[in-house]
């Protein structure tokens, strides 16, 4: 029987942790509502579970996503997570090959103590060397981790998240685990003249200068205690992300979505945040506006610690840059949005003043509030729509309301719903098959929230289609243009290529160094409720300096709000792609144009 009292701290801590985790996860699954539980039952024995396992392997152990953002950080975490995982797996195989059967749970962990001499069993030498190699692999990551703690720039992070005291305690015990394991194994190997290239040679060296006989036992005790400290502290610290991320990946693959009326997935996501701080460097409020306390990692932390969060919840551009790089893919924007206060006045019709318009048409053009502030865009769109030959209705030409997304972004979900209902009714009665909008904010809500039986197109998509069908003859203008990806259009709605295709046919396109998924916010975002004007300007200026690196003649964009925010600070001309297209259009003879009639409005 392999037993020694020093295995007790590890074994007890491990058991306690397992009981805690099983209890917690069981409670979560029990608290899911019936539709989600049905989803789990339905999807459990399908390929979705296998896909989840693959994702756990790819993201939880190999960290493909961190590698994409920051290779050094990716390597650091991969060597720790994957290295430790392999140490456990290979160690278990080695131990079970040795005993040829079952062994206590702690046996593989303390294998070298119980089996100090070199035995010859199947592949025994190979196992010894392999384990040393894996330990070295973990050490390379540990070295980077320690370096990062003292100088985060060394791993390519200009800022990392602030830690609580308990985080530091558990972090220290995590750091101690591997050096203590190395020492314990080296002492044993040195004394018994066994071990691999690392533990064996270090042991032989230490044997010459230290009385190893008396050190072996304390070293194994220390190793066991370090493991116990880490396991006991895990539920109270960020290391809870290690087991919880797996639950999150399973839940997500089984199709469970974040819900406003069921907090389970929210809890899982909050506990899955590893506080890595990748979201800090990518946040423009941090890098351009000097606001350092509102980043996603701090917001999640506030929720987890039950601290007051309203101010932080409101202070976010919701540009989605953090969501884009989050290695755990937490729904950071949605979580923030559902914690904004809903102050909709109840029991009262708030938007009864919106006139009902009746009009039958094929294509609806909805300019959006912001487009009315940039009349060039809507005039250009009217010109394009007229040239297209489609029968269209300019829905908000005179008596238009808002789409409802600004209310939603401010957390006023009830009011947004009311507005949505009113707009939807008017749109549905028209019998249109297509809805074209110039504003990505409107576009996102029309496409995602309105659930209408019609195609919703951003004007860049619509123009691209017209060009493909050769219904919009254009001549290329002799200008160079850079495309600024609006947040709601790019990361928000995944439209990157359509506006570029349009731009290619009317101008010479240049790309800015930070484009597409990595595109910057103009600073004008409606999602940030409290940002002051000078900070907005500061962000716009910084974004402009990135956009104009190659000195383009025109900054093209697809969002009236971006246009307005950038144009205020820019020396380069800022134009919407619709304006460029209208400029590049080859004029048709007047008689061919469809004459548009004024729409009577009924109040």
């Amino acid at each position: 029987m392999y037993f020694d009292p020093f295995v007790l701290p590890f074994t007890i801590a491990m058991a306690l942790l397992l009981i805690y985790l099983l209890g917690k996860y069981g409670w979560w699954i029990w608290k899911l509502d019936t539709s989600d539980q049905r989803k789990i039952r339905k999807n459990f024995f399908t390929t979705k579970t296998l896909l989840a396992v693959r994702e756990i392997f790819g993201e939880g152990l190999l960290h493909r996503k961190i590698f994409k953002v920051n290779p050094r950080l990716g390597y650091m975490h991969m060597s720790l997570a994957f290295g430790w995982f392999l140490l456990i797996v290979v160690g278990a195989i080695e131990a079970h090959t040795f005993v040829k059967g079952s062994a206590p749970i702690y046996f593989p962990i303390f294998f070298r103590f119980f089996v100090p001499e070199q035995h010859s069993f199947f592949f025994s030498d190979g196992f010894t060397q392999l384990m040393d190699l894996l330990l070295l692999f973990v050490f390379s990551g540990l070295f980077l981790a320690v370096l990062k703690r003292f100088n985060s720039k060394a791993v390519g992070m200009s800022r990392t998240s602030r830690k609580k005291p308990i985080d530091r305690v558990v972090l220290t015990s995590l750091w101690l685990i591997f050096p203590l394991r190395l020492l314990a194994e080296s002492f044993t190997s040195g004394f018994y003249h066994s071990g691999g290239f690392l533990t064996g040679s270090l042991g032989a060296f230490l044997d010459a200068i230290l009385p190893l006989e008396h050190l072996i036992y304390p070293a194994w005790w220390a190793y066991s205690l370090a493991l116990a400290g880490f396991f006991l502290g895990l539920p109270f610290t960020r290391y809870m992300h290690i087991p919880t991320e797996m639950v999150l990946i399973f839940f997500r693959n089984w199709g469970i979505k974040l819900k406003t009326d069921n907090p389970v997935l929210l809890e899982v996501e909050i506990n899955s945040c590893p506080k890595c701080g990748i979201c800090i460097d990518t946040c423009q409020l941090n890098s351009m506006a000097g606001i350092h306390d509102t980043q996603a990692v701090y917001f999640i932390q506030k929720l987890r610690n039950h601290e007051q969060y309203q101010k932080v919840a409101e202070s976010c551009l919701m540009c989605g840059r953090c969501e884009n790089v989050c290695p755990v893919s937490i729904d950071l924007n949605s979580i923030r949005l559902m914690h904004r206060h809903d102050n909709t006045p109840k029991e009262q019709e708030n938007f009864g003043f919106i006139p009902v318009q009746n009009q039958t048409t094929e294509v609806i053009y909805f300019a959006g509030c912001m487009t009315h502030l940039t009349p060039n865009i809507k005039n250009s769109m009217v010109k394009i729509l007229e040239a297209s030959g489609d029968k269209f209705w300019f829905m908000d030409e005179e008596k238009g309301a808002c789409c409802g997304r600004p209310l939603k972004l401010a957390g006023q979900l009830q009011a947004a719903n009311e507005l949505e209902e009113r707009n939807r009714e008017m749109m549905m009665q028209s019998g249109a098959h297509t809805l074209v909008t110039s504003c990505p904010i409107c576009y996102k809500t029309f496409a995602n929230d309105y659930h209408m039986n019609m195609e919703v197109l951003h004007h860049s998509e619509y123009i691209e289609r017209l060009m493909q069908q050769k219904r919009l003859p254009v001549e290329k203008l002799d200008v160079t243009a850079v495309f600024h990806d609006p947040c709601e259009l790019g990361r928000g709605s995944d439209i990157y290529e359509q506006p570029r295709n349009v731009l290619k046919s009317v101008a010479h396109i240049v790309e800015s160094p930070q484009n597409r998924q990595d595109g910057l916010c103009c600073g004008g975002s409606l999602a940030h409720l409290t940002l002051s004007l000078d900070k907005k300007k500061q962000i716009a200026k910084n974004t402009l300096s990135v956009l104009t690196v190659d000195n383009p003649q025109v900054i093209a964009t697809g969002c009236p709000l971006c246009k307005k925010s950038l144009a205020n600070e820019s020396t380069t001309k800022v134009m919407d792609i619709a304006e460029l297209v209208a400029k590049a259009m080859v004029a048709k003879p007047v008689k061919e144009r469809v004459v548009r009639q004024k729409v009577p409005v009924y109040i």
Binding site: D261, P263, D342, P345, K346, M370, C402, L413, L533
Partner: protein, 153 residues
């Protein structure tokens, strides 16, 4: 008594009007102090285009401490943000509307159920995430003590 009555006075009594709420709103959105009442916000307003909704007037009511009128108007704002974009003084009017709404909703007589976070409003209330109500306690106390304010509301 004689078939005559005294016309309701139009006087604005600054001493009687309660300005606590104004102070709270100013604390939440201080940029309104630089407002020059030019009316650009009102001219561009999406809601103002459809109905007599007037942000400038609301500001005046706010400064005077006349909340009754504001209560009826505040639900009309669609928070589209055009007012903030056109403001020549850089006042964050959108947040002002939002914070005014929030502050007024905290009053016991408000016709809503008080502030809630989005996900609490939508369904079953979770106990795990505490509701944040900065300042609401003091405000409610004040309202119950101060007669002039309860009269107004």
């Amino acid at each position: 008594m004689w078939g005559f009555s005294i016309t309701k006075t139009n006087t604005i009594d600054y001493d009687k009007n309660d300005k606590t709420l104004m102070a709270e709103i100013l604390r939440l959105e201080p940029s309104i102090r630089v407002c020059i009442a030019c009316g650009a916000c009102t001219a561009t307003c999406t809601a103002g285009n459809l109905t007599p909704f007037n942000i400038r007037k609301l500001n005046v009511f706010l400064q005077r401490g006349e909340y009754n009128e504001m209560m009826q108007e505040m639900g009309k704002c669609m928070l589209c943000g055009k007012c903030t974009l056109v403001c020549p003084r850089g006042v964050n009017l959108r947040n002002l509307m939002l914070k005014t709404r929030e502050t007024l909703m905290k009053l016991p007589d408000a016709n809503g159920l008080g502030p809630k976070t989005g996900y609490q409003a939508a369904g079953s209330i979770s106990q795990e995430i505490p509701r944040h109500r900065s300042g609401s306690v003091q405000l409610v106390n004040f309202v119950s003590q101060n007669k002039s304010l309860t009269d107004v509301l």
